[in-house]
Subunit: 312 residues, 2 copies
């Protein structure tokens, strides 16, 4: 980092990304902008560690965008309008000026795409792996935020898009599978699409909502448990990428990926039975009395080897 | 971590620390409480990495409190009333249940002391050093927050308490100095006192304010630069702990510690010349035309070997 220190990084690369109230990143803290009457701030914080959440030597721009997007996905699941974020970078000696420039270029791209700005954070060195932490903030109508605990028996369970693609993409990136013919799966893993517009459209409509980061069964399980109920879903109803459908036809062990692959960042949500699922969403099952998530394959309950990704 | 996983940690140790709007840490994001009319959220985010910001095998409870306090110090420097915080823990395999219990006990102690609650965050594993990141949130009267850029020529420069003690304490803890007779210095390093009450009392009174984390000269330098001015301070006027005064008498090289030792977490602020410094605060100099921070010793400008702690 010779000749390019902490204050250079802040002034040259980060300050241009900063929003009003961030004071050009020159002060001890930021002051958040004023919300509309009746709105509240919703806030989430997710960290990503090299070798745990992303592969060593990942492309810096893509990594920056994924870090932002996994946090925006949490805001989407609350039905929020994203506003801004705070960033902590713990940099090893392998992240120099070129890496930081690419990282900030990635942030700039997604700031435009998702209409958010940087409000603050800090940068430190680390003798360990590159570690990133982001706090994202959005606005919701107070009291109308999408929670996990509102599902009712008889509600329809829906997902916003194909699942398991990111887990397939990760297998391709790590060499466990031949990456040829899997560009969409790789893209699912590297650059998830937070369902911001859908989340906002579900406010006042969905009874419960979560984003799928740990895997469908785990995250739908959170909705079921928080709602004091169970869920029953049909394997066959779960949408998958054509690339994954092809791969599953060749290797049946991949059939678990849509259930517990994780890193999907689609939304899973519940609708009263009288409500038609919004365009693009797919009904995959029903909220039922009882507990847990029952997965039916050919009409019979399926046994899962694990409940989704968990850390330690 | 056998038998004590991520979800156990959240449910058993973190959820009891959570505030209203955090939904018991069971949802994707928190909703922040409503502020009073005319208030705004002020937010700061600081990370701490083992071996960089704290010594390996630091006491878990004390570490938790320091992490919270260094962030609360940033809120104090804005004149804010602290409300809550988000926490990211990246844990190595050396942090087990006992460590986590002690860590959360420390948080609980300081939550009571500073009237704040936990609103969310995440826990991950890391193959590297223990890494902590905290986002703290407080309330300020919108437009009245204490900035760094409001100092005027002729303003009095004040500090809120003795400086250099933390840097002396760190030398004792690392074995560079004999720790005998340095309990207060060690305490300064391990458990700084964020100047919350003073910060709020300075709203509408001080023209500029910053907390001293990088060292007095560096942080007063930020105020001077952001205000487009310079500062002139007197070495002799800077308050120091009796322990540091004794140590400086034995080893003159320690005379730099009050100037650029860092980790003090006292406030440096500027007052119009007509305003009397508040109780406990010490005037140490004046804001002047020009730029930079001039340190006078026995009436003559002093040359500094470095401008304070910087990362990489």
């Amino acid at each position: 980092m010779t000749g390019f220190g902490e204050f250079d990084l802040i002034r040259e690369l980060l300050a241009p990304l900063s929003g009003e109230g961030a004071f050009g990143l020159t002060d001890d803290a930021a002051v958040l902008p004023k919300l509309k009457h009746g709105e509240a701030w919703t806030v989430t914080k997710d960290a990503m560690v090299e070798g745990v959440h992303f592969l060593p030597d990942s492309d810096a721009s893509t990594l920056a965008r994924k870090l932002l997007r996994v946090n925006l996905s949490d805001l989407a699941s609350m039905g929020a309008r994203p506003v801004g974020y705070f960033l902590s970078l713990s940099l090893s000696d392998r992240q120099g000026r070129a890496w930081l420039t690419a990282f900030c270029d990635g942030l700039a791209l997604d700031q435009t795409e998702f209409a958010v700005a940087l409000y603050g954070g800090d940068t430190t060195s680390t003798p360990g792996p590159l570690s990133l932490s982001l706090t994202a903030m959005g606005a919701v109508t107070r009291g109308a935020e999408l929670r996990r605990n509102g599902a009712r028996a008889g509600d329809t369970v829906c997902v916003s898009g194909p699942l398991g693609g990111a887990a397939l993409g990760l297998r391709a990136l790590t060499g466990a599978l031949d990456p040829t013919g899997l560009p969409n799966a790789v893209r699912c893993y590297e650059l998830p699409e937070p369902q911001i517009a859908l989340g906002q459209a579900l406010v006042g409509v969905a009874t419960a909502c979560a984003d799928i980061s740990d895997g469908l069964v785990a995250d739908l399980g959170h909705i079921a448990r928080q709602s004091g109920l169970g869920a029953r879903i049909s394997c066959k109803a779960i949408p998958v990428l054509p690339e994954l459908a092809d791969a599953m036809a060749r290797d049946p062990s991949l059939a678990e990926l849509p259930l517990n692959g994780g890193d999907d960042y689609e939304l899973v949500f519940t609708l009263p039975p009288t409500v038609t699922p919004p365009p693009g969403a797919t009904p995959i099952g029903t909220i039922v009395e009882g507990e847990g998530v029952e997965v039916l394959k050919d009409g019979r309950p399926l046994s899962l080897s694990e409940g989704g990704w968990r850390h330690f």
